[in-house]
């Protein structure tokens, strides 16, 4: 099954570059990405630029409207994701728990829709 692991957290919650916690934090991401690749579970994984760089597009009556934002009312913003392929939810939970940001924010696990079924 495919799962999307959405990484949420307050943007200033994770260790800042230069702080003593930063290197272990980043190393955790490298190690997890390597593990997912070795297990054949990795489909994609990226970190996102800050939420203040986000733009929103809507199409109404054929008109494209672009806006700055969105700025969520909560401080928690999506900061990155992994798209993985594994056997079941327990395996997805085990990977999600290894995402370094799980210690600072939260990981939302969403099963990917399977149009073959």
């Amino acid at each position: 099954m495919k799962y999307m692991l959405l990484i949420y957290g307050a943007e200033n919650a994770a260790p800042a570059p230069g702080s003593p916690e930063f290197d272990p934090f980043m190393y955790g991401y490298f190690a997890l990405s390597q593990e997912l690749t070795n297990d054949g579970a990795m489909i994609a994984g990226e970190g996102l630029q800050d939420a203040e760089t986000a733009s929103t597009v809507t199409v109404r009556n054929g008109k494209i409207i672009t806006r700055d934002g969105p700025f969520a009312e909560t401080k928690e913003a999506m900061g990155g994701f992994y798209l993985i392929d594994c056997d079941n939810l327990d395996q997805a939970i085990a990977y999600a728990a290894k995402i370094p940001s799980a210690t600072y924010g939260a990981i939302e696990i969403r099963p990917v829709m399977d149009y073959e079924q």
Binding site: M1, Y3, D87, N88, L89, D90, A92, I93, A94, I109, P111, D114, E116, Q117
Partner: protein
């Protein structure tokens, strides 16, 4: 029969990785049995017959869905079909694998809502009907059916596995399974209405027995079963008069079920030799001491007080401290108990917790502080959820000479 049905549902759910399909084909098989058995006689192994027939019904459904080009999700992907077809030889004597543990872990998975844990476990492992569970939880059958459907959908769509969890997830998941069983028990125990068509306490004890049989080395499962047996044994005395709340102190101990007490005590004694007792075993030990006493006053309150202190290590809650204070008030003096309660009342938010006021009222009365005792009894009565308990406190108030006791709250 219900025990066999639980085993069948478990074996089929695990094989198909789909509870709905398992329930549907077992219904088909039961319907086929109603037609076939009266004609050709009861098979020598009815469960084996039902198991094989259910699997054949699943294969039929699968073939039909393929011809309609509607692949059935989990079946198509799990390559179970090959093994199922190979299995198709009608070996009615083959024993059915006991997969109930896997099913229990699936039903109690933390990714499901808490309300679904108990309902789904009762539906599948205990094979209760939706209407029976709805009645036990005082919700409409429609609401219960929706809750069950949502839970089964989530299992299917989110890929919640039918497995016994690995070592790293075990402690958390195992604790949650035991918690679900105890929750079912307590829901049955706290309902004073004995007219319900099913008894949640007995269902929880049944689940406890299954867990102990499947995992004999997990001492907390045995501890939980012992606790439930020892608590349940006292129920006839508690419900002797359904209109009246009968506290442990006032219960007619001759009504306690000796066989359950014996079973619970023996189970606990065997378990205690196996290692360091944890929360359920300690609570069972407390219950066992109550069961050994011939009356409330002769209870070994020193031992109970010590056990609550040990329980606090595992369950650092105000409720445990409250019970420890009650034990202390008997082991030493009401004044000692009150001092401990006062400390507790300051550090925890117990202002709206009925048992706190009830315990305090009793200690004040025993300490001769009648005026304060009356106030505390009134507070306890106002916070009581059932009419029986309100009547109990009204009675206590009138014993303290409160002539206005019957006029309602302060």
């Amino acid at each position: 029969m219900r025990n066999h049905q639980g085993r069948l549902i478990a074996a089929l759910s695990v094989q198909f990785r789909d509870i709905d399909l398992a329930e549907d084909v077992l219904q088909d098989a039961l319907a086929a049995a109603l037609i076939s058995w009266p004609k050709s006689g009861m098979p020598r192994n009815p469960e084996g017959w039902l198991y094989q027939t259910s699997k054949r019904k699943a294969i039929d459904r699968y073939r039909r869905s393929v011809t309609r080009r509607e692949k059935m999700g989990s079946l198509a992907h799990q390559t179970q079909l090959d093994t199922m077809v190979n299995d198709e030889e009608p070996d009615e004597y083959q024993s059915i694998p006991d997969e109930r543990l896997r099913l229990i872990f699936t039903c109690c998975h933390p990714a499901l809502p808490t309300l679904a844990h108990t309902s789904l476990t009762l539906k599948t492992v205990c094979s209760l009907s939706t209407s029976q569970i709805a009645a036990a939880y005082l919700v409409s059958e429609t609401a219960m059916a929706q809750r069950l459907v949502r839970a089964k959908n989530k299992i299917k769509k989110a890929g919640i596995p039918f497995i016994v969890p690995d070592a790293d997830l075990w402690p958390e998941r195992w604790k949650s399974v035991l918690g679900v069983v105890y929750l079912i028990f307590n829901e049955g125990y706290s309902s004073l209405d004995s007219k319900a068509s099913i008894d949640l306490c007995e269902e929880a004890i049944r689940l406890g027995r299954i867990l102990v049989r499947l995992l004999p080395d997990e001492t907390e499962a045995a501890g939980l079963l012992a606790l439930m047996l020892l608590t349940h044994a006292r129920r006839p005395a508690r419900l002797a008069n359904p209109d009246v709340y009968i506290s442990l102190e006032d219960q007619n101990r001759d009504l306690w079920e000796k066989a359950s007490i014996m079973e619970g005590q023996n189970l606990l004694l065997t378990t205690l030799t196996k290692g360091k007792p944890q929360a359920y075993q300690i609570q069972a030990a407390i219950s066992a001491i109550h069961c050994q006493a011939s009356n409330y006053k002769d209870t070994d309150w020193h031992e109970i007080s010590a056990l609550y202190e040990r329980l606090y290590v595992y369950e650092p809650t105000p409720v445990v401290l409250l019970n420890a204070s009650v034990a202390l008030s008997f082991a030493q003096s009401p004044a000692t108990g009150l001092a401990s309660l006062e400390f507790l009342g300051k550090s925890a938010k117990l202002e709206t917790y009925q048992p706190y006021h009830a315990a305090r009222a009793d200690m004040l009365r025993r300490d001769g502080q009648n005026k304060q005792a009356r106030q505390a009894y009134k507070r306890a009565r106002d916070l009581s959820p059932s009419l029986q308990e309100q009547a109990y406190f009204t009675e206590r108030l009138s014993q303290l000479g409160d002539t206005k006791a019957y006029r309602g709250s302060v």
